[in-house]
């Protein structure tokens, strides 16, 4: 039983590992600013699918890892991701029954809230980017939601992760 549980957590861990890898993967300079927030996508998905297992705590830890990945001050992404997970958990029953395009809009709002949090923190320590391009990731992230949703749902169902 415990081995089975481990195996099932493995799928969740794997999805996070892939999200982190995609975050670090070198991209050409012109597309770097549009890199989607992969970790946020995965956090939102698991918060919606398994709210009793994946919650604010795990989002916070993922955020702490993301801080090191991005070379930011410790706590910046942790705070943003924890708050985003909190919003998701607060509305998860509603979001679940939305249609996919409605969910996409919700994801847009969630990632925007995360980015707002981050630019706020960056502004406080005096390194806020001036470029408007800063906001592009929330759009690319939202556009990727339908694919992420279907891929992760198929994974979850075929491996019966509860």
């Amino acid at each position: 039983m415990s081995a089975q549980m481990k195996h099932k957590s493995g799928i969740i861990l794997l999805s996070f590992a892939i999200a982190f890898a995609l975050t670090m993967l070198p991209l050409p300079d012109w597309s770097e600013v549009g890199r989607p927030e992969w970790v946020s996508l995965v956090v939102i998905y698991w918060c919606l699918a398994l709210p009793e297992r994946i919650g604010i705590g795990i989002a916070w830890i993922a955020g702490l890892l993301l801080d090191v990945v991005h070379g930011a001050i410790l706590g910046q992404y942790a705070l943003a991701l924890a708050l985003m997970a909190y919003f998701t958990l607060h509305f998860y029953q509603r979001i679940r029954i939305y249609r996919i395009w409605q969910q996409t809009l919700v994801v847009l709002m969630l990632v925007l809230s995360e980015q707002l949090m981050i630019i706020w923190i960056k502004g406080t320590i005096g390194e806020a980017p001036e470029s408007r391009l800063y906001w592009i990731p929330s759009i690319t992230t939202a556009l990727l939601w339908p694919w992420t949703y279907h891929i992760l749902r198929d994974l979850r169902r075929s491996f019966r992760v509860h």
Binding site: M24, I56, G71, A82, Y86, P129
Partner: protein, 296 residues
Amino acid sequence: MRGWLHVTLSCLWRITIKQRLFIQGASIHTKIALLVLLSIVLMTVDHRQRHLEGIRSVISAVIYPLRYTINLPFVVVNWADEVFTFRNNLINENRALLKKQRLLEVKLQKLAFFEQENRRLRSMLQSAKRGWEKVLIAELMAIDFDPFKRLVQLNRGSNDGVFEGHPILDANGVVGQVIHVDPLSSTAMLITDPNHATPVHINRNGMRAIAMGTGEPNRLEIPHIPNSADIRIGDLLVTSGLGLRFPAGYPVARISEITINPSESYAQVFAEPTAHLERTQEVLLVWPESDTEEKR
């Protein structure tokens, strides 16, 4: 009796059904409040002091396998590029390198003499200027950071003696400095990062200035240069060694743009780094001479 039953049932209902429907009901609010507080404390401590380097290097070590895996294909491609190259190309390259090395060796003979003379003169003046001697080559890992910062990952860490604030050069000039170290790798900030400032002076006349990063790939800003200052396009900026971070006398940038607006008290001056920041694959880590002497 009925009343008691009612209370127990409603309690049971609350515990079983409600708890299941509204997961983590009340605790979710306390949890988020605690985590927000913890994050703010973390950020404050990390921004003001350096106590959290331990936590950071632990997390960095957790991420290292992922970083290594991402970097691996690039290593393999480079290796394959070296292995499957034509013999003729190798011979030509080898010839060119030998020629270059001979030229450099001739220059080096003179340099050794000058260095000796310089040291003797300095000891006569009793000036304790530190030289920087020992070097180590590090490779950049193919890892991306925040696009609005200019950070790179090096494949050398504290196991190789890399320390925080370690200056990094390449063949053409100053590249940046190390900001976080973990055992196997380290993170470095390029001189173009918006948070980086390099103390420099103009090689031609010795005027001191500060070269600030702009966040753009090949542009430094030189603030607080008076309109009347003797500064020209093409002037070479070299490290002044004043911050005690960078060894003195290494090239940093060339002035590329000067805009003088008479209504403002300072000129707008921009410079282009001499190091190939965006193309370089290998960089040099430089140790202070005094430290290496202590090690011996």
